[in-house]
């Protein structure tokens, strides 16, 4: 399936883009992350959380096809 991935904050220093759509053949969040780590070497060294459909999820959550966002530490306020 096609998945839209959004990158924020310091992660955009690595990806050099804020959003992309990927063809993804796996089932779980950790599989998607492996795909992304292959594409962006240094992404694995970064601290971030994953949101699906605007809710934080863990690595074993199933990918539903909703928007995925990679969120580095928050800095509001």
């Amino acid at each position: 399936m096609n998945i839209t991935i959004k990158y924020f904050g310091q992660l955009t220093d690595i990806t050099h883009l804020e959003e992309e759509t990927l063809e993804f053949g796996g089932t779980y969040v950790y599989e998607l992350l492996e795909t992304l780590y292959r594409k962006y070497n240094t992404l694995k060294t970064k601290n971030f959380q994953v949101a699906q459909n605007q809710e934080l999820v863990n690595e074993n959550t199933k990918i539903t096809g909703h928007e995925i966002a990679l969120l580095p530490p928050f800095a509001g306020g």
Binding site: G9, A51, Q54, A69, F74, A75, G76, G77
Partner: protein, 148 residues
């Protein structure tokens, strides 16, 4: 009197001005059941880091999720505390050192309530809302801010 509006964006482009804050205070003077207001303002610090000084923070956010989180914080605060009004504004884009990037305003008949509510809301914003800050140094290099 409850000022519970439908979900709206709390984001404002650029700094939050003192005029805006003063005007917001003014608008509450018709609400004569209020006895206590408490206001938190976040201001951008000109921190010195490795000999370089922060001149501004450039804020970005995962806006849809952030507005959803602000909405949840708002609902939860109205449930927990006897508040008459609550207003939250957060900057997006560039806010210079000395300028205000966060404005949280709570009002209640009684003072004990506003102290508790304001701290609860500010801590929840810091912890739960996906906002990101790029600290821009005077030489235009940058580093990413992390809440402590």
């Amino acid at each position: 009197m409850k000022d519970k509006k439908p979900m709206k964006s709390v984001f404002k482009e650029g700094a939050i001005t003192s005029e805006f804050i003063g005007n917001s205070i003014y608008k509450h003077q018709t609400k004569t059941s209020i006895g206590a207001h408490n206001i938190f303002l976040g201001q951008v610090r000109a921190d010195e880091i490795n000999g370089k000084t922060v001149s501004a923070i450039e804020y970005t956010a995962y806006e849809d999720m952030a507005n959803q989180k602000f909405h949840e914080i708002r609902e939860s605060a109205f449930e927990k505390f006897d508040l008459t009004c609550m207003h939250i504004y957060h900057s997006l884009g560039t806010v210079k050192a000395g300028e205000i990037c966060l404005f949280v305003f709570v009002s209640s008949p009684r003072r004990k309530v506003v102290f508790e509510a304001l701290e609860y809301i500010v801590e929840a914003i810091k912890a739960d809302v996906p906002v990101f800050g790029k600290e821009i140094f005077e030489d235009e290099s940058h580093q990413w801010k992390v809440n402590s």
